[in-house]
């Protein structure tokens, strides 16, 4: 009797400490989460704030006293936001298509076709991942300049074919699809290209989704390469457009318009995130450690 009472007490106290500690942890994590979210709240609030046109309001507030849409109107009239957005989309779609095609084709070949030198190709390709793009960007600019392709979107689309991370990831993914599909298709007389696109590609849904998300995030948020390669304002991407607008006007001027442009710039990607958050988070966990 006494023994069970002691045991009960121990179990209860253990449960109790566990509850206390998990409440504490939740509280601590919630504080951190608040720090993650506050910048967004301030940004959105300022973008609608009637008093923030010339100076940020004091004391800082997270809900405007006087709501206005004028900041957005001014943002759209001063910065060609829609044009930039369209340009960014154009760059992203082309990059995604070319990278995906190239990655799946080479991933399939490296995984399933036993051709001469495939290990050498894989090794060489992987070793290029050690070359940072920043190291080659100067020469790459002059290469495109000589080809007459500087200040054009070909400078984004053509290099997209060398998507080594995608190739590697596609190879690993296709490794897990049985060889027997290819073998029976070969007996039926299908060519490798047809096997790659008609038999294996439809089975790569998860792979395509993951790579598309990563490529879109990368392309949409890219800044340094557009800064170097694009010179005519009507070709600017969204990041470059709003960055140069702020840069040329002085960073501290007109906070409301600046925040309006920033909100517009992150909205497409936030919408994407809201719908695909589970998926994005998982694809990061999946691909991140393999890189």
């Amino acid at each position: 009797m006494a023994n069970t009472l002691v045991k009960d007490y121990q179990v209860n106290s253990r449960k109790h400490t566990e509850m206390v500690s998990s409440t504490l942890i939740t509280f601590f994590l919630a504080l951190g989460a608040l720090a993650m979210v506050i910048p967004f709240v301030w940004m959105v609030s300022t973008s609608f704030d009637n008093d923030a046109l010339f100076n940020i309001p004091f004391p800082p507030r997270f809900y405007p006293k006087l709501l206005t849409l004028d900041n957005y109107r001014l943002a759209f009239t001063n910065v060609s936001m829609l044009k930039y957005m369209f340009n960014s989309l154009l760059v992203a779609v082309g990059t995604i298509l070319i990278s995906l095609l190239s990655a799946i084709m080479s991933g399939y070949a490296l995984s399933k076709i036993n051709f001469k030198g495939r290990n050498v190709i894989l090794l060489l390709a992987l070793s290029t991942m050690m070359i940072p793009g920043e190291v080659t960007m100067t020469s790459r600019f002059f290469l495109f300049d000589k080809l007459g392709l500087a200040d054009s979107y070909w400078a984004f689309w053509l290099p997209a074919s060398a998507y080594v991370f995608g190739t590697f990831f596609a190879k690993q993914y296709i490794d897990s699809i049985p060889d027997s599909l290819r073998e029976s298709a070969l007996i039926d007389g299908a060519g490798e290209l047809r096997i790659a696109f008609q038999i294996y590609m439809p089975l790569c849904g998860a792979l395509i989704a993951t790579l598309t998300i990563l490529l879109f995030l990368g392309s949409w948020n890219d800044f340094l390469w557009p800064l170097i390669i694009l010179s005519s304002p009507e070709k600017y991407t969204l990041q470059l457009g709003i960055a140069l607008f702020s840069y040329n006007q002085g960073l501290n001027e007109m906070p409301a318009i600046r925040m309006a442009t920033t909100v517009i710039c992150i909205i497409p990607i936030l919408i994407l995130y809201l719908f695909l958050q589970r998926y994005i988070v998982e694809s990061i966990a999946l691909t991140g450690l393999k890189q």
């Binding site: 070949a109 002059f142 290469l143 060398a162 966990a285 991140g288 450690l289």
Partner: protein, 307 residues
Amino acid sequence: MNIRNASTIYPVQKKNKLNPFIRRNIAGYLLCSPMILGLLIFVFYPMLQTFIYSFQSTNGISGVLNGVTNYKWIFKDDMFWGALKNTAIMSVMAVLIDIVVCFILASLINSLSYNKGFFKSIYFLPNVVSSVATALLFNFLFYPTNAGVINYFLSFLGIKPVGWLVQPGIAKFSIVLMGLWRSVGYDTILFLAGLQSIPREYYEAAKVDGANGLQRWWHITIPNMKPIFAFMIIMQVIGTLKRFDDVWLIGGVGGNPGGSLQTVVLYIYRNAWISRDVGIASAASVVLFAITLIITIANYRIMNKER
């Protein structure tokens, strides 16, 4: 049934007269060709060109060989050493803070039995925001008066307004904090993936032996996470060596305030596009490449030794 009928049933085999071995090779190369061509033209060739430029006095269009003059120049250039120093300081600061914060966050999230997904989503949210948007936003959050949100909150703790982005001594730290806001979710998720790969039995065995939560964390979690720590450190060191977007937006090509935000990539950019001295920019690029290579190789050596 005669032979003619059979050949009409399998017409493809008749069409392909090539030896299947050669056919397989051709198919392999053909399918890999977009990637191979892309690498040759847009990675290998520019890399080679960068090496060549680095031994030339050139504006990128025409140039003359000048031996190792460019290298001599950059190693005598205070601004280059400054850039190296700034990059290294920011890199070390960013990696240390990021690894500690993200590992603790991941451990805390992992210990919860509910709300895991919620916290993952919230912490990851800033990661989808571009570096440009982050810099524009934090430029106001770090406002040097109490109108800036961060200084305003600190004022409740009795701290006087800090010139986050205008004081040379502090600007690097502010940039690192700004980067942390963006990277924290990504790295926490990677750590979480690592934490979940540690076998459950270890913890259960330790529980039976009477180890408490903190002891289990210290004696099981941390030793088992070693390879992931190594991976994260190397990825982040290499990533932070390439810092450009945020320092360019906040500090301009000069890396202001007072050149304290001048990084190596900024130095490359400035020499290539402001002073149009592509030779100098290329020499600096080669040095950056060498540093990346040394760090990567050293890391592999250490990792292999541990195994």
